[in-house]
């Protein structure tokens, strides 16, 4: 259940919606990488500005694995703090740390942040958490039911419904992107099975131990003894199995109707590129110009020139698996057709005319300027280094993408824009008021 009620009630209204973050990179702080004796990898980003350490562990068996999906691995991973005695949670509370557990296509993750002096005890907590084999049955049931209610609650939110409809429009029924799009999650496996699944994840080879903050490699190494269980090969079918989207000819427009809406939420969607695609750099630049800042093409056309919307974005979910690329906006219901035509025309002109040199120069300034913003805290450098480690990318690959993007010529970008941003390559998804007429 969302806890935002009071935040919304007492919160603030910003001048404009947040624009999506362009792939960040930094030249400092620097990640130091080391292979550990058992084959695991260590990444340390030393930053002495504050007596704080971010600990982040990656276990490279994520939701891209068909085995992981069958075993409900993401749910199993998320329940690790729920021991029967509630002792682990109490220890975390007493240590002043907050433990985050999540899964993505590449890995299962564990993160906590602590004061430097608490690092040894925090790592001891991590060790015990990974060894916890007494999950609380009652909590498992409660969490499963709460997630189902959460799913139903999300069904009332037009943006959640748009996201689900986009995934249904672009991907086949059994594709992992569809998880959660077609119905509420069903967590049926008992605690013993969840523990076994968690153990397989925790022992999968290729783990990455990351620390960022007031710590060095030399200081950390003695603390890593017995942190992780011995590694063991996972089941043979644990390898990533992601698959591609539906072929374009099989994609259909979708319209979702909801009660009590006064706006229509629009989405123009197609599959995005993977981060190692040869044209990822071009997409980075193009996304920024099309819908990545306050005077982007979309925001000009839909907000500044006529006030059709409060916000319009182009969103590229960057990663190493195919995920939706989405252009989205919301407008008053009676303006839906006009807004849709505006998006289509903006895309058509973008495809036909490409970027101007001025737009490319501004995008270059944006990409190069982000360095110092992402250097504010050591966590961003840690995140990039660990992402590269999980996906087997060479160190610095994310930074190299940014550099390639900043070095592109107008012809290179526009050649890509002409092929990618054809309006007909996008499938349209709408969430509208129930009872609103069809187009």
């Amino acid at each position: 259940m969302r806890t935002l009620l009071l935040v919304l009630a007492l919160g603030a209204a910003p001048a404009r919606a947040e624009v999506p973050e362009v792939a960040p990179s930094a030249t400092a702080p620097v990640a130091v990488r080391q292979i550990l004796p058992d084959g695991d990898r260590l990444v340390v980003v030393e930053d002495r500005r504050a007596p704080v350490v971010v600990v982040r562990l990656a276990f490279p068996l994520g939701t891209a694995s068909a085995w992981a999906r069958r075993q409900d691995a993401a749910f199993a991973w998320s329940r690790q703090l729920d021991d029967a005695d509630r002792a682990l949670r109490a220890r975390a509370d007493a240590l002043a740390v907050q433990v985050d557990l999540w899964s993505d296509p590449g890995a299962a993750w564990l993160q906590l942040t602590c004061l430097r002096d608490d690092l040894p005890e925090a790592l001891a907590l991590v060790r015990d958490l990974l060894a916890n084999d007494a999950l609380d049955r009652g909590e498992r049931r409660r969490a499963a039911l709460a997630q189902r209610i959460g799913w139903r609650t999300g069904s009332k939110d037009p943006h959640v419904r748009l996201d689900r409809a986009v995934r249904q429009a672009l991907y086949p029924d059994d594709h992992p992107v569809r998880d959660g799009a077609d119905g509420p999650p069903r967590h049926r496996r008992g605690v013993a099975a969840l523990v076994r699944t968690r153990d397989v994840i925790a022992r999968a080879p290729g783990r990455v131990i990351g620390l960022a903050g007031d710590v060095s490699v030399e200081e950390v190494l003695p603390l890593l003894d017995s942190l992780l269980p011995p590694s063991e090969p996972p089941p043979a079918d644990a390898a990533p199995d992601w698959g591609g989207p539906l072929p374009p000819e099989d994609r259909r427009e979708r319209t979702v109707s909801l009660h009590r809406l006064t706006q229509v939420t629009l989405g123009f969607a197609r599959e995005g590129l993977k981060l190692d695609d040869p044209h990822a750099a071009e997409l980075l630049v193009a996304t920024h110009v099309l819908g990545g800042h306050f005077y982007s093409r979309l925001t000009r056309a839909l907000r500044h020139d006529g006030g059709q919307t409060y916000a319009a974005h182009a969103v590229w979910r960057q990663g190493m698996v195919s995920q939706p690329y989405l252009i989205t906006t919301s407008t008053r219901a009676e303006n839906a057709a006009t807004a849709e035509a505006t998006v289509r025309e903006t895309l058509r002109r973008f495809m036909a005319e490409g970027l101007t040199q001025e737009e490319l120069d501004d995008a270059r300034g944006w990409l190069e300027g982000r360095d110092r913003f992402t250097a504010q805290g050591p966590g961003a450098a840690l995140g990039r280094a660990m992402f590269e480690a999980v996906w087997g990318l060479p160190p610095g690959a994310v930074d190299q993408l940014r550099r390639r993007a900043a070095a592109l010529t107008l012809d290179e970008v526009n050649g890509f824009v002409r092929s990618f941003f054809d309006p007909d390559a996008f499938v349209v998804v709408r969430v509208r008021p129930r009872g609103a007429g069809k187009r």
């Binding site: 259940m1 919304l8 910003p14 001048a15 109490a90 709460a146 209610i149 706006q263 006030g307 409060y310």
Partner: protein
């Protein structure tokens, strides 16, 4: 910490405080009333600038609901000297960020840029605070945009709808009793005369606190501010005063299109920010629900299975605040759900969980967050602005650690008894149904 005197053309000599890590805090006021606070931190790679304008939705008159927020939008419409896009472009071209927010008590304009661009940003900021251009055309366009935002946040979001109705019912008649985004009717009713009056009333130096955090030398920033803002004329009026939140209804009964669950909550009034108990309340709530264990929820759900889910929330503003515990259940009638919740509150209210170790862990969490905040220029600037405007005292930021350490268990016990244990609890009931 050393307090030094710096000679400038300010109304009074600014105070300079030496902090750890080579940081310095300069706090002063121009003769026209503009307060300037600069945190010079050589370790920050970028500069955050925030203009805290001391007007929010609480200062809106009848038929003006949403106007503070609408005016915030108009501040991005260009000036007599530069077009609307120039400000955004300056930021984007250097990887920077700019935005603003309006809340009940303030409107804050935010900029983050590399240090070499900061002087140029200040010049543009000073320009829009003195030479803003508002035309009928851009007013009409922003009215449309704001109305779309209002639809997005409060009409088309079930939680937004709930929040607005809760405000209107619980705080009826109080300046906080309406959404910051206002109503479509009032937004549509704004005209150029209202814009001009609003600008001339509130966007004056004696209603603004300029906060800068970054690696630039504090004296250099101050010199720029004096040069750029010094000609502004003060309003001569006192800062906005919002009456304290008074009596709340005994029960708030709301319906919304939600899954078939029942939400029951108990809520208590809290004092306005700037109260003597600020540090004590901060520590109390951090110990109660700020860590990995939300103690009321733990008791109500994990330990006793009285509900499917529970959560603890609190928020404080300049004229008052609220603390609440809510639970989610399927089948329990409201009467039973409220009885169970009161029982949990009574059990928590024995304060057996409130040990010295729990308090120390809460302090460590607060200090951990503050340490993380120090990495980010904008987070630091926000904390400084809030300390000054909401707590009336920069010491709430400068001396935060010492103030937390000075809070005793007895202080926390007293605060619980005063504001929760012996105070009136107000009931909140949210059920599935046609929104009302």
């Amino acid at each position: 910490m050393l307090g030094l005197i710096v000679a400038t053309a300010l109304a009074a000599e600014p105070a300079v405080t030496e902090l750890d890590g080579g940081r310095r805090l300069l706090d002063g006021e121009l003769p026209n009333g503009l307060r300037v606070t600069v945190l010079e931190d050589p370790q920050l790679p970028v500069v955050a600038t925030q203009h805290w304008v001391h007007v929010g939705s609480a200062q809106e008159g009848p038929n003006e609901r949403g106007f503070a927020h609408l005016f915030e939008h108009l501040m991005f419409g260009g000036t007599e000297n530069v077009d609307a896009e120039a400000y955004a472009r300056l930021h984007t071209a250097h990887g920077g960020y700019e935005n603003a927010w309006t809340s009940f008590d303030e409107t804050v304009y935010v900029s983050i840029v590399p240090p070499e661009v900061h002087a140029e940003v200040l010049a543009m900021e000073a320009d829009r605070f003195q030479h803003l251009a508002v035309t009928a055309e851009n007013l009409a366009n922003e009215q449309r945009i704001v109305t779309e935002e209002l639809r997005l946040r409060t009409q088309n979001d079930p939680f937004g709808r709930l929040a607005v109705r809760a405000l209107e019912v619980a705080l009826a008649g109080h300046p906080y009793g309406h959404a910051v985004t206002g109503t479509p009717e009032d937004v549509a009713g704004a005209d150029l005369d209202l814009c001009r009056r609003f600008y001339e009333t509130w966007y004056r130096p004696d209603h603004v606190h300029l906060v800068v955090a970054g690696p630039r030398a504090a004296e250099d920033v101050l010199a720029d501010v004096e040069r750029l803002y010094g000609a502004m004329t003060p309003s001569g009026t006192l800062p906005a005063q919002t009456p304290p939140v008074g009596t709340l209804p005994a029960r708030l009964d709301l319906r919304e299109d939600l899954p078939p669950v029942r939400v029951t909550g108990l809520a208590w009034r809290l004092p306005p920010t700037g109260a003597p108990d600020d540090a004590t309340l901060e520590l109390l709530f951090e110990a109660l629900h700020g860590g990995e264990v939300d103690r009321p929820a733990e008791r109500h759900v994990a330990e006793t299975r009285r509900a499917l889910h529970a959560d603890t929330v609190h928020a404080r503003l300049r004229a008052g605040g609220v603390f609440g515990i809510y639970s989610v259940s399927f089948f329990a009638p409201a009467k039973v759900a409220f009885r169970r919740l009161r029982r949990t509150v009574d059990e928590i209210g024995r304060l057996e969980w409130l040990t010295d170790d729990v308090l120390e862990a809460a302090r460590r969490r607060l200090l951990l967050r503050r340490a993380q905040e120090s990495w980010y220029a904008d987070a630091v600037a926000t904390a400084i602005g809030q300390a000054a405007w909401h707590h009336g005292d920069l010491g709430a930021w400068v001396d935060a650690e010492a103030r937390l350490r000075a809070v005793t268990r007895e202080d926390v016990v007293r605060a619980w008894r005063t504001w929760v244990g012996e105070a009136e609890a107000h009931e909140v009931l949210i059920r599935r149904g046609r929104p009302r």
